[in-house]
Every structure is written in structure tokens, then in C-alpha cells.
């Protein structure tokens, strides 16, 4: 069983895409006289990767989007205009309000005065609902860096300004509408970003550790150890994911504090995720073991750790990064799925999955479609991560065509 056919599509997909692009970049540079004579390429591997990555425009744009998303996750207290748990009975199921940038002053001239319109609210007794009509006459001015009640950022720093908000905090500003309790969905999505995006990161970090260590051992030493680890991986892959998650998540004692549940869910998600990474790492080690530069290093008398960490790991770290960026979206989707089943995270924790679970009913589709905004957030994040991963993968192998 020496040949290893691509048994899973993931593995097949991992085959590097030839990168004639880099070649052309190098040619272009040579033509422009940037490359010194004598064939000395001054570009480091990272630089080459960067050049290649830059050419993937979708990936570049996605990287920017991703940066913004993680900034939002980091500073969600500051960015969210309201407390995500604060409820307002008057505005249950209030629709989104549009931001108007310009207004007419007393003379009828157009002036820059950002505002949102108020609502005319009537109560439909039979259907037990509030009917909202945007009232263009009522204008609530909004601004950046508005003053609010003091709050804590990361539980450490006390701040008194929010990125955006109504100048008078009592006025409604539902940029994405309100949920069934009149909570601001925009603020909730912002807070959900922190949990959902970090669950991916932490989970992948765990997978990465397991994957690199076990995959490394497997690939570097080979033989019996390799055989054993490979069997374990095959076994884990043969376990059905959903029931496994279900069972494990159901087993979590629910008297645990939410934070611990959150961490455990991430661990559960990563228990499965490490296997793929381990396979990639192993494959790389296997092929690198016989490469000339490794042999050279060995002949030079370099120590084992130096060979592994000084020579081998750097040569495939880019692949690992690409793999990781593709693993994160799966974690995010898995979290939403678990939350949907009522396992995973539970309110009052706010994650995109929890928000979607709350919106997962006909009432929301029929009368309050804005409640699916967290779904859009999931799609954007997953898309961005996939494109970045795609770009990284293409870029990871600048020498592959030689």
C-alpha cells in the first residue's frame, strides 16, 4: 500500500495549483532590471508568497474584510451602540432604520446631519404585534464617538464613548432592526462576532497543536509510530461527526459557567479537526525527509531539533497557514449547527449560532427577515476565510512549478 490515492476530496483538493503567476512576476522583475545578475534571487520565501497572494485579488479583498471582522471582534464593546442584552418592550420586532446622511435645515438647504427616522407605532391587538411605520418627520440625530454611560472594554478599561450611536441614548437606532424582546440586533451581531470568530481561532489553534505534533512525529519517525497514529486518525475519521458532537455536547454538565462550556465546545470541535492537519504535516515530513537540503543539514552535523525546526518546519509552514484558514470556517459552521440543535452555546451567551437558532422559525421569516442578519455575517466570514485560504494555498508553493 505504497501509493496513496486521494481518498478524500479534501486531500485531492490540496494538490497545489501551479503558480505560473509567480514566474511571470519574477520575469517581470527581471525585465525591469530589479533582479541583480548572477541569478541571486533576493526575495525571501515570504516575499514570494506575498507577491503571489497579492495577485489573487479576491483573496486580498477578503483579507481586508477579515481584518475588519477581527477588529470588530476585538473591540465589540466599543463598536456595538447598545448593550446586547438591554431590551425595550416598545420596540419588539422593530424593523431596521436607514441612516440618512443629509437633512434639510430651516431654510430648506441640504446640510450634513446624519440621523435615523423615528417610528409610528400602532398595536395590532388581534395578532398581538406592534406595527411599525417609519415616520420621516421624526429625526434622531446620530454621530460617531457619542458619549454614553461608562462601560468596560475587555473588563479592564472604562470608556464613555461608543463608535456610533444616537446622540440622545434614549432614542432608538436599530441599524439591523430589533429582535423579539426589542434588543438591538446590530449590537448583538457585533458581540456574536467575538464568540463565533474566536471559537474558530481557538479551535484551530488546538487542532494545529495536536496536528503538527502528532503529524510531525508520525512523518518524521515513520515505522510503527506512524502506523499507530495513522490508524488512530482513520478511526477518528470513521466516527460520524454530528452524533459525536451531539453526544459530547450533551454530556457537558450544564451547571458549568458559560465560558467553560464555550471552551469545551471548541475542544470538542477541534478533536476532529486535528486529523486533517496531522495528515498534511505527515505528508510534508515524509517528502521532505529525503530532500537534499535536509540531507545537507544532516551531513553538516545539525541536531535533530535544528533540522526539524530550523529547516523542515519553515519550508512548509505556509501550507499549514493555508490549511488553518480553511479549517476555521468549518468550525464556525459547526458551532452554528450545534447551537441550532440546542446543544452548543446557549443564551445569554451571544454567538452567531445562538442568534440564528433564535431566528430559526417561520415567524422570523414571515415577519422579521432582518433577524437572519447573523446568517449573512456567517456567510461573509466563511467566504472571506475561504478566499484567503484559497489565495494562501496558491501562494504557499512559489517553487512548485520548478
Amino acid at each position: 500500500m505504497t501509493a496513496s490515492p486521494p481518498t478524500t476530496p479534501e486531500e485531492a483538493e490540496r494538490e497545489p495549483v501551479p503558480s505560473e503567476a509567480v514566474e511571470s512576476e519574477l520575469e517581470a522583475m527581471a525585465a525591469a532590471g530589479k533582479l541583480p545578475g548572477g541569478g541571486h534571487a533576493v526575495a525571501s520565501q515570504w516575499q514570494l508568497m506575498w507577491w503571489q497572494f497579492r495577485r489573487h485579488r479576491l483573496a486580498m479583498a477578503s483579507a481586508v474584510v477579515l481584518l475588519v471582522i477581527y477588529l470588530v471582534a476585538a473591540f465589540c464593546e466599543f463598536i456595538a451602540p447598545f448593550d446586547p442584552l438591554a431590551f425595550t418592550p416598545r420596540y419588539t420586532y422593530a424593523p431596521p432604520q436607514w441612516v440618512h446622511l443629509f437633512d434639510r435645515d430651516d431654510k430648506g438647504d441640504l446640510v450634513f446631519r446624519p440621523h435615523v427616522n423615528g417610528f409610528k407605532v400602532t398595536i395590532d391587538k388581534a395578532a398581538l404585534r406592534r406595527v411599525f411605520v417609519i415616520d420621516p418627520k421624526v429625526k434622531y440625530p446620530i454621530a460617531f464617538f457619542v458619549r454614553t454611560d461608562p462601560y468596560k472594554l475587555w473588563g479592564l478599561f472604562t470608556l464613555e464613548h461608543k463608535l456610533i450611536g444616537p446622540i440622545d441614548q434614549a432614542n432608538p437606532m436599530y441599524l439591523l432592526g430589533a429582535d423579539r424582546l426589542g434588543r438591538d440586533l446590530f449590537s448583538r451581531v457585533i458581540y456574536g462576532t467575538r464568540i463565533s470568530m474566536s471559537i474558530g481561532l481557538i479551535g484551530v489553534a488546538l487542532s494545529l497543536m495536536l496536528g503538527v505534533v502528532l503529524g510531525g512525529i508520525s512523518g518524521y519517525y515513520g515505522g510503527r509510530i506512524d502506523h499507530a497514529i495513522q490508524r488512530v486518525i482513520e478511526f477518528i475519521l470513521s466516527l460520524p461527526t454530528t452524533p459525536l458532537w451531539l453526544g459530547l455536547a450533551a454530556a457537558l454538565p450544564s451547571n458549568w459557567p458559560p465560558l467553560r462550556i464555550y471552551l469545551c465546545i471548541t475542544i470538542i470541535l477541534s478533536l476532529y479537526g486535528w486529523t486533517n492537519l496531522a495528515r498534511v504535516v505527515r505528508g510534508r515530513f515524509l517528502s521532505l525527509r529525503t530532500e537534499d537540503f535536509v540531507t545537507a543539514a544532516r551531513l553538516d552535523g545539525a541536531s535533530e531539533p535544528r533540522i526539524i525546526f530550523g529547516h523542515m518546519v519553515p519550508s512548509f509552514i505556509s501550507h499549514i497557514i493555508a490549511e488553518v484558514s480553511l479549517a476555521i470556517p468549518n468550525m464556525i459552521l459547526a458551532e452554528t449547527a450545534l447551537s441550532f440543535l440546542g446543544l452548543g452555546l446557549q443564551p445569554p451567551i451571544i454567538s452567531w449560532g445562538v442568534l440564528l437558532q433564535e431566528a430559526q422559525n417561520i415567524r422570523s421569516i414571515a415577519t422579521a427577515p432582518w433577524l437572519f442578519a447573523p446568517g449573512i455575517a456567517v456567510i461573509i466570514a466563511v467566504l472571506a476565510l475561504n478566499f484567503v485560504g484559497d489565495g494562501l494555498r496558491d501562494a504557499a508553493d512559489p517553487y512548485s512549478h520548478h
Binding site: 425595550t88 416598545r90 395590532d124 388581534a126 398581538l128 404585534r129 440546542g342 443564551p347 445569554p348 417561520i362
Partner: protein, 647 residues
């Protein structure tokens, strides 16, 4: 058309002669074919001799039911839906209630004749006599007699293999009632000590157990009756013992799935199972019971509707969509949440249905119980401090919760019976319900004035007062309200947090008395308040504010923990109430119990639940605005057999 309109007109005339007159007439004339009518679907079977004619299938004195609106028409299929593989109680609720004596349709608390045409109890409520209608028949045509009741009381209820502990409703002081047969129609049940609530318990949902077992059918699965081929039957069914076989075939439990799995088991109910509710079934159907013992005022044998067709759905939302699409004829279970109202109203015309109000018998949307018997002495001391409890009650803005979580339905309410109920107690229901942060802080300052640097109050041990409220997200609309309550309590310096738990874990922990605080629905708000005084005193282990006290009462002092004097006083009063056969005296005693409950202030309520509703197709009629409860299983107790479809 002309046949039916004739029936309708004839019905008008017969109403006047309903009741005893009709009975006498039937008895005298025997088989007077013109007087009773049957569904046209049975005509062929009667003609071919497969079924006896209708007057021979009916008892001599059938129960004559006055239709809610008018005499109906035969035919049609009632489509509804269940969710998941263990939703058997929907079938219980639409066809599974046919007791010896029943609640009246308006649920005033009165008990009326059903299978038994006469019943009475002696003065000290120890002995009850029943007389069955003569000529009652099981759905397979075999007669239903005293022996069937005796079979249940003597052979089933006392059998340790089937009932490790005997059915609660048939037991006083751990002793099952004594059954004595007088003749084929008459029998007595005698209790060791007074049981003043026996008739009400018999009319309640579990009372149907007494007439669920047809002796001629079910006895073949018992070793003392079947000496010939029992082993063979056990083997055929693939079970290990006779008791397993019995349960599989005859479903001892009223709430068991088996009750809806065996189409061969004879029933007394209006419809009998056809496509059973077995694992993997996606649809369950019922067909009319040709021997059903009720007629309408025009002499038409009930039920009007031919078939029940119940789809088994994986998810509630599928069922909601089916309603919207007009594929459901009557449904309330699972779908009648407040938030769905708007969805249903928007599609009412397209789906050709209407919404019918249902009176909610619950007294509260959510009861929050602090654990007064907490294992931790510090928390116990805090929770038992009445000032502390009052302070927390004032801290809740119930109106805001009503407006946001319950769409403005209901009014602020504590754990007390509803206003329409005969047991309404204003103090119990309304005390400490206003939202007043100042008062809240006054009371809390009286109890625990010290605060830490984050503004949270400190308990007697100098540590922050902090507890979790356990809530089951899968049940009811409690989670939202609980989260809001926790926020209000945070504002007055009490570190309360909500904790969502799975249902199983919830019960596991409360049975072990491991909870800080819990949320549950406030049932027992109407005629059932006296039967199920869960939140009025520690009655059983569902009295979540003091489970060990409840255990103590339910086990007559054997388990649990002895409560304080005031609680014991309530328990004594209730014992006295149970021993009384006089309804007025029972009411008076119950009032005293509620007064003490108001003094003790055991648990918090939020608000009265708003009316519920059912979605009913426009062509379905005779559907009353009825109570909905579990003790009074709705809608079947409002006589689903007389619902009909207009053509």
C-alpha cells in the same frame, strides 16, 4: 343534502325529548330503527351483516350530547400533527379521554355521568357506588361491564409487575380501593380512609385508566387467566416476560406510547387506532368506533368525523407551515405560541382557517422559586428571609416583561389562582407585584445592607449573594422572562444568573434538592387549583420552592424533611379537605390554605398567561371556546366527537 337537512330539522324536535324520555323510549321499543342514525360509511357493513344495526350497538341509554352549535353532518378527516416520536399526548388530548365520570364541558368543576350513568358517594367519602349504562360495548362489540372495571382494580392496579406502586388516583394511605361487584352494571369502590376528591380525580386525565382494559382481550396476556398459549404469545411478540407482553398489548400507562400502538386493543373512545404510532411512523390514523356510546340530540350516533389523520413531524416549524398552507383542520398543541399568532393571521384567508380562543387554566406564565430548603445553610437563610424575598419581588418590572416577552398579554400576578376561579385570593395573587425599586431596596437593605465594591449585596457570611436560576429552554416561553428577571435583580445588587439546562438534568437536580432557584409554569389556576396545589403549599416534589417538604407530605412523613409549623398547618388542612365529601367545606378549607400561602409567600409569579388559541379550518364546526389544561384534557373534554365538517 335533503337527508341531512331533514336530520337537522328532526334534531330540533328531539331536543325537547332528550334525556330520560329518550332513554325510556329506546328501552321500551327495543330496536326502533328510525330513532338512531349512523354514519353512511357504516351502512354497507350493517347491510352485509358485518355489524349489527346501530340501535343494537348503542347502549339502552346512550349519553345524549348537546352539540355546541348545531347538529352536525357525518364525514371528513380531521388532520392534525405531532412533533417527534414521543408526542403521544396529542392523541390523548383529541380522542383519549372517555372516563367513567367526566368533567362538564364548561369545566365548572362539576362531575357528570359518562360511562357510568349514576354515581354517588357516602357521607364520609369512603365508599362510592357506580352504575354503568346498560349495553355499553367495546369497539370490537363485546360488552363493557363491571367486570372490566373489576379487572383493572383487582388484577392490574394491584399487580406488582405492572404497577410497582399502585396508581396514585386510586390510592389512599398507600391502599388501593376495594372493588365490589353488585351486578353487571353496578359496583362499589371502598377506601380505607376518606377520599373526598375521588370523583374529581376519576374525572381528571388519569381516571381514564380504569376503563382502558378490556378484560376479554387483555386477560389473555396474564398468567392467571391464560393457562394455554401464553408462552407462545410471549414468543411471538418477541418479548421476555408476560408483563412486557401485557404492556406491549394493553398499555398499562395512560401516557405510554403503547396505548397507540396496538390496533387490536378494544377501546371505548370515539376513534380507534388504524395506522399505529410505532417507531418510524410518519403518519398515524384513526377510524370511527362503530360501538361508540354517544348520540347527538337528533339521535345520530357520534362521532361525526370519520377519520383522524395525524402527521408526525420532525420539527415544529414544519407543522407551522402546514397550518399556514391549510393542511391542518384543528391544532393547538406545539403551534399556538403568541409569536405565531401574527403568522397565522396573515395567512388565515389563504389557508381558509380561523383562530379560536382557548381559556388558559394556568395561573402564571412563569413561577420563579427560590429553594427554601437549600442544602447550603447560608443560602437557605438568605432565601428564607421574607424581607429579601419581598425586596426581590418589588425589583421586577412585570409590566415591562409582559410587554416584551408576552406581547402585552396578561397582568402582573403572583402564584395564586386566576380571577375567574372559585378559589381566587386577591392578596395571594397581587401582593408585591408593583415595580418599585425604592421599596425593593428598602426591603433588601433591611435584610442585607452591606455591598461589595461592585455594588452587589453581601450575605450573612460576608460573601456576595449569588445564585443561578435554572430554566429549561425547550419548554414554554420562560427563558426570555427569566433573563429579564435576572437583569432586574442584578440592578438591585443581587447577583442572579440564568442557567439553561436540559429537562432531564433539571429534574435530576431538583429531585436531589441541588438547585438554587428554578422556573416552571404556574399550572393549577382554575378548577384544578384544589386538585393540584403545587405552588400553594409543598404538596409533592413538583413544589419547586421546597422539594423535601413536598416529599415529606407526599410520603406521609417517611421521606424528605419536616417543614415549619405554618406549612404543617396547611398540610393538616389539606388532609381534612381530602377527607370531606362536602364541596362547600372543601372550598372553605382551601381558602384557609391559600391565606397561609399568602402569608408565607413561597414563590414569585410574573403574570397571568394570556388566552391561548387553536387554529381551526373554516369548515369545522361545533368547536367551543374551551378551557385548556392537562387535568381537563383539551380539546377532547369539550367533546371532540361532536366536531364536524360542513360540506
Amino acid at each position: 343534502m335533503n337527508f341531512r337537512s331533514w336530520l337537522t330539522r328532526a334534531g330540533g324536535g328531539l331536543v325537547a325529548t332528550a334525556g330520560a324520555a329518550l332513554v325510556g323510549f329506546a328501552v321500551l321499543t327495543g330496536a326502533a330503527a328510525a330513532d338512531y342514525h349512523q354514519s353512511p360509511t357504516l351502512d354497507d357493513a350493517v347491510k352485509s351483516g358485518k355489524l349489527p344495526p346501530v340501535e343494537q350497538r348503542l347502549p339502552e341509554n346512550p349519553r345524549v350530547e348537546t352539540p355546541v352549535e348545531q347538529v352536525g353532518q357525518y364525514g371528513g378527516t380531521w388532520r392534525s400533527g405531532m412533533v417527534g416520536g414521543s408526542d403521544r399526548n396529542w392523541m390523548f388530548r383529541i380522542t383519549g379521554y372517555e372516563p367513567l365520570v367526566a368533567w362538564d364541558r364548561d369545566w365548572t368543576g362539576k362531575v357528570i355521568p359518562n360511562l357510568a350513568e349514576e354515581f354517588s358517594g357516602n357521607a364520609d367519602a369512603t365508599e362510592f357506588t357506580f352504575k354503568l349504562r346498560k349495553g355499553l360495548k367495546w369497539s370490537d362489540g363485546q360488552p363493557f361491564t363491571s367486570d372490566d372495571v373489576g379487572f383493572f382494580v383487582n388484577d392490574i392496579a394491584r399487580n406488582k409487575d405492572l404497577f410497582p406502586s399502585p396508581p396514585d388516583w386510586l390510592t389512599v394511605d398507600d391502599q388501593v380501593g376495594e372493588f365490589t361487584k353488585i351486578d353487571d352494571q353496578s359496583f362499589k369502590i371502598k377506601f380505607a380512609s376518606p377520599y373526598g376528591l375521588f370523583l374529581q380525580r376519576l374525572a381528571s386525565v388519569y381516571g381514564v385508566q380504569i376503563d382502558m382494559m378490556a378484560k376479554h382481550y387483555c386477560s389473555q396476556f396474564m398468567p392467571q387467566y391464560n393457562k394455554t398459549n401464553l408462552d407462545q404469545l410471549i414468543q411471538q411478540a418477541g418479548v421476555k416476560s408476560w408483563s412486557e407482553l401485557y404492556i406491549k398489548k394493553c398499555a398499562v400507562d395512560t401516557e405510554a406510547n403503547e396505548r397507540w400502538q396496538n390496533p387490536d386493543r378494544p377501546v371505548m373512545e370515539p376513534w380507534m387506532i388504524h395506522d399505529p404510532y410505532v417507531g418510524g411512523a410518519t403518519i398515524v390514523t384513526f377510524e370511527r368506533n362503530p360501538y361508540y356510546f354517544k348520540v347527538d340530540t337528533a339521535g345520530n350516533q357520534l362521532p361525526y368525523i370519520d377519520k383522524l389523520q395525524i402527521s408526525v413531524n420532525g420539527d415544529v416549524q414544519t407543522l407551522v407551515l402546514k397550518v399556514v398552507n391549510g393542511e391542518i383542520d384543528y391544532q393547538d398543541r406545539h403551534i399556538n405560541s403568541n409569536s405565531n399568532r401574527a403568522v397565522f393571521l396573515d395567512s388565515a384567508q389563504k389557508g381558509d382557517y380561523r383562530l379560536i380562543d382557548e381559556k388558559n387554566s394556568d395561573m402564571n406564565t412563569a413561577i420563579i422559586s427560590l429553594n427554601l430548603t437549600h442544602k447550603d445553610p447560608v443560602k437557605r437563610e438568605i432565601f428564607n428571609n421574607k424581607d429579601f424575598r419581598i425586596g426581590l419581588s418589588y425589583a421586577i418590572d412585570r409590566q415591562s416583561i409582559i410587554d416584551s416577552a408576552y406581547l402585552g398579554q396578561g397582568e402582573p400576578w403572583q402564584a395564586g389562582p386566576r380571577k375567574e376561579s372559585a378559589y381566587y385570593n386577591e392578596r395571594l395573587a397581587k401582593q408585591y407585584t408593583e415595580y418599585d425599586v425604592k421599596k425593593a431596596n428598602e426591603y433588601l437593605d433591611k435584610a442585607y445592607p452591606k455591598k461589595d465594591d461592585q455594588g452587589f449585596r453581601l450575605g450573612p457570611d460576608g460573601k456576595r449573594i449569588s445564585f443561578t436560576i435554572m430554566v429549561i429552554p425547550a419548554l414554554g416561553d420562560w427563558l426570555d422572562a427569566t433573563q429579564l428577571v435576572a437583569q432586574y435583580w442584578q440592578k438591585v445588587g443581587i447577583d442572579a444568573k440564568t442557567q439553561t439546562v436540559d429537562r432531564t438534568l433539571f429534574y435530576d437536580r431538583k429531585d436531589k434538592n441541588d438547585q438554587d432557584a428554578t422556573v416552571f409554569e404556574g399550572s393549577g389556576g382554575s378548577a384544578d387549583a384544589m386538585l393540584e396545589p403545587t405552588f400553594y403549599f409543598p404538596f409533592w416534589n413538583e413544589s419547586l420552592f421546597a422539594v423535601p417538604w413536598g416529599d415529606w407530605y407526599a410520603s406521609a412523613g417517611k421521606d424528605g424533611e419536616a417543614p415549619p409549623a405554618a406549612v404543617k398547618k396547611q398540610m393538616d388542612l389539606y388532609r381534612e379537605l381530602k377527607g370531606s365529601a362536602d364541596a362547600e367545606k372543601q372550598k372553605e378549607l382551601f381558602k384557609q390554605i391559600l391565606d397561609i400561602a399568602a402569608d408565607e409567600f413561597y414563590a414569585y409569579g410574573i403574570s397571568t398567561p394570556g388566552d391561548l388559541y387553536a387554529v381551526v379550518k373554516n369548515n369545522m364546526h361545533n368547536v367551543p371556546v374551551a378551557w385548556t389544561a392537562w387535568t381537563y384534557p383539551a380539546p377532547v373534554a369539550s367533546n371532540t366527537e361532536q366536531y364536524y365538517f360542513s360540506k
